[in-house]
Symmetry: C2
DNA sequence: TCTTGACTCTCCCCTTTGGGCAGGGCTTAA
DNA sequence: TTAAGCCCTGCCCAAAGGGGAGAGTCAAGA
């Protein structure tokens, strides 16, 4: 068991409450290399001082922190490490918040209740709409800043082109945007008349729902999308394009948006 | 876009907020097969009525429910489905409870504080100990019942063999026990003298810590293991075998156990 | 009717965190 | 010396898709 007071891999596994497989992996990834490797046999020998690091890794894994981030925690200063753990903890809590909202909905819909009916759907028939727009692939983390920047930029462009803005800015979600999927998102500013460089959205019908306050936050907002999609299909129509999110007001505490989805008969 | 009012895969992806890749996977797994597959081209066409199921799958995936369990939710009765969602929600909450306990510890130890010192370590020197025992590979879910049954069985065996029980029952964790790892666990009943069928644990020194109440619950109990392992190595000793958990009292509200770890110089 | 561009298909490889096993070497105690 | 127990590397596997190649399909404009 002892080779100059070193642990064999199985003894170290037992002491650290990690598995042998995990230890070999952490060696390979360089986040917990053994203190000593016999060059002849390739046997791994661990020093008792490595138990603290092993224990930390075990605890972070128990928090489902990815090894890539654990590496950062181990390499950074204590202050950075604490910050990363806290950031991870915050994301766990946020995921939990999502679940807290979602679970009652799922259970209600499994029971046959219909939470969609809580939303009031309106129909709008629109003429062709000239818009200035910016389109980009973006993940959730870059979403807010892309929207802010684009709206600011488009408003400036409208002024420069002497174009008259005819409504609230909105975004067309051509693909989902989340941690893994990145749109694209087309941020639009509606105009009274076309100008050079403007696009034109086709005329058509929109199914709309308006939400305010906390209903605008993720993941609650998905309920509004579902309600609109549900309404369209339940009335025998078909979706005809990507859904839009109209930003009437986005100040903290008084958010006000609409979800609008094109459809046809 | 419409082939007898069916969605193409990309239209359905957009309406359901799922990705095309996911839809193809759900088809392959049989949990969301398209309403129609063109036998010539292999193209998938979805019916609007399938949106509800798609939405449900999306929501359950957002709760990180595995597809295998989602299949069960979809196939079972509404009551069963609700029960499975609630069970999943309970496990999410439990995982969160683990994190709530672990995070402050991790942060404290990153800051260089030492929560181990909160435990009082005692040293015991034991003679060879005859025991009746039962050893088994078992996962967490079977843990409690295996312990209960084994202790009951061993006590009956002791009576039958006219052996005198000399202490509280305990378990030797030869390997970790959790969702993926299954021990083995050796449940032991200490005897005053050997009888036929009894084993003998070797004499030696034990580092011990006693915990009560909520400190006995997972994951808090891991802190006690860490504290003992830490004490042993910090004092220049080595662990000599697997840790033991002595069950002095296990009634709800008045749990009382010791963690004992053999070591040598 | 043909072409072109967008859409879709299948097939294969990649990710992450290990678990499980095979074949072979190492160590140690009897 | 031999057998048992450890340990090594290397390979395949899981879940839930993402990414891309190469080939076939669809629909709209010329």
């Amino acid at each position: 068991m002892n080779r100059n007071h070193h642990f064999t891999i199985s003894a170290f596994a037992e002491a650290s409450l990690l598995s042998i497989k995990a230890l070999r992996l952490y060696d390979e990834l360089g986040i917990l290399p053994p203190a000593l490797i016999d060059p002849d046999s390739g046997y791994r020998y661990y020093h008792p001082d490595q138990l603290g690091r092993a224990r930390l890794i075990r605890q972070l894994r128990q928090l489902e922190m990815p090894l890539a981030i654990i590496r950062g925690v181990l390499e950074g200063s204590p202050a950075e490490a604490v910050a990363q753990v806290q950031a991870h903890w915050a994301s766990l809590q946020q995921q939990m918040q999502v679940a807290r909202v979602l679970v009652p909905d799922v259970i209600a819909s499994l029971k046959g209740e219909n939470p969609m009916s809580a939303f009031h759907i309106e129909i709008k028939t629109t003429a062709a709409q000239p818009v200035l727009s910016r389109t980009k692939h973006v993940y959730v983390d870059g979403l807010d800043s892309f929207i802010q920047n684009s709206v600011t930029e488009l408003k400036a462009l409208a002024v420069q082109q002497h174009a008259v803005v005819s409504g609230s800015p909105f975004g067309i979600f051509h693909g989902q945007i989340n941690d893994e999927s990145n749109g694209p998102l087309q941020v639009c500013l509606p105009l009274q008349a076309a100008v050079p460089g403007s696009d034109e959205l086709p005329a058509g019908k929109l199914a709309c729902v308006t939400v305010k306050g906390s209903e605008c936050d993720f993941p609650n907002i998905l309920k509004a999308y579902d309600a609109v999609a549900d309404w369209i299909t339940r009335h025998g129509y078909q979706m005809a394009g990507s859904p839009r999110e109209v930003w009437h007001a986005m100040e903290r505490g008084s958010e006000h948006m609409s979800i609008e989805w094109p459809f046809n008969d």
